[in-house]
Amino acid sequence: MKRNIFLFVVLSVSIIILFGLNLMTGSVHIPLSDIWTILAGSFTGKESWRFIVWDSRLPQALTAMLCGSSLAVCGLMLQTAFRNPLAGPDVFGISSGASLGVALVMLLLGGTVETSLFTASGFLAILIVAFAGAILVTAFILFLSSVVRNSVLLLIVGIMVGYVASSAVTLLNFFSSEDGVKGYIVWGMGNFGGVSMSHIPLFAFLCLAGIIASFLLVKPLNILLLGPQYAESLGISTRRIRNILLVVVGILTAVTTAFCGPISFIGLAVPHVARLLFRTENHQKLLPGTLLVGTVIALLCNLICFLPGESGVFPLNAVTPLIGAPIIIYVIMKRH
């Protein structure tokens, strides 16, 4: 009990420190005192600095926190529901569905979506189609979930759906221009900085709604740990839980992929880190723990992306596996 409280405190303090570091780090050096005045609203210096802190670094740090926690929670729920330590938000092809939507808009339609109801271009177009693609795949997986009883088979079908979406994306890339392919590939590398301050309220609302929904699933998740037979004997409908879980995971993954692109590894690795730290399978402690660890790791990855400083920036999906892969290897080693 004491250990858990200690861990929660350490993680929370780390989040605050990393958040501050994220605000201070970037390719342009802004002194800490100026950052304080900018946040307080009484800055009278360079307009570009005000923009950099308020409209670039702050939304980026907030996005990292929301994405990190959402994806980590998704990963935990999937790993428990499917009793598979390698399950993650990208395993069901939900990110692939989003990627297909984005590829269609970027490579086929030239960046603009025009329907009889509305016309959207640029960031908004990407957002809408990524979300739509992810939700369509989620709906399809949900439909299959009501037909396929076995969780392992559902997992396999989900992976196959992902492959089909990827093949369509490959086709689109093959017939595209250089710029189109480059634009699509860079989108696929993930980016916490794509969400502007005006979009943060919507993004935060959706992520927090999903996270709160996952907290309501703590008890069923704990019961699922006992195995499907015991769970059924306790009167829990495993299929219903699985379906609710898929909806929550689908929406959270759709939202994060739509706003930030497909982010690899956080959903897969963070639950394992949390299990190592908290030494429990009880979701009452593990879920909030996973949430905090996910936030810490996402903020850390965002910080590392800005290490080159004045000379450039690292893409997000190049940094997350560097943190995630050693953890996975360690988990495997420890188990055997």
Binding site: S27, V28, F51, S56, F123, V186, M189, G193, S196, E310
Partner: protein, 175 residues
């Protein structure tokens, strides 16, 4: 050009063509040197989290030097492109006089601003000095390595609005 000449066995023709291009190029560069107004350039745009900018010693960077224009990375020694986050671009290029970029298909200022909200912080967005080249109908990439003097002419007129050489071949003001 000379290489293709060797490849196809038409060295003398290639050499004579090259001499024409070189003479034209040097003449244009001389003219640019005498201009009284010199502006600063902001090239290309953001792709995801990075903005690819030409290095100081890249082919485009050297063109900017020969056009006697102002480019914030003129002293950079890279012959390839630099990948910079938006913060750096805002800091170094935020007050640029004009912005040049290439695009495919249908494009205008509204679509450019829809791509990324932060573009509105750049001075060329407020002054309207944004010039685009429609590369899927204008053979920009195909011609540039062959006749760099044509691109130089466009750049010189953008850098030095007091010089008028010929109607711009590649760039037009984005509406």
């Amino acid at each position: 050009m000379k290489f293709y000449g060797l490849l196809f066995g038409r060295e003398r023709e290639a050499d004579s063509l090259f001499a024409v291009v070189e003479k034209n190029y040097q003449a244009l560069s001389e003219k640019a040197n005498q201009s009284r107004i010199t502006r600063s350039v902001l090239p290309d745009r953001k792709v995801g989290p990075v903005w690819y900018l030409p290095g100081g010693e890249s082919s485009v960077g050297l063109l900017y030097k020969d056009a006697h224009g102002v480019y914030a990375y003129a002293k950079d020694k890279h012959s390839g492109s630099l990948s910079m986050p938006f913060e750096t671009v805002l800091d170094k290029f935020g007050q640029s006089d004009f912005w040049i970029l290439s695009y495919r298909g249908d494009f205008n200022r509204a679509k450019l601003l829809a791509e990324f909200q932060g573009y509105s912080m750049l001075k060329p967005c407020r002054t309207g000095e944004i010039y685009g080249c429609k590369v899927d109908s204008i053979p920009y990439f195909e011609e540039v390595s062959w006749r760099p003097d044509w691109l130089l002419s466009d750049l010189i007129q953008l850098f030095h609005p007091d010089l008028h050489i010929a109607p711009m071949r590649y760039y037009h003001k984005l509406k």
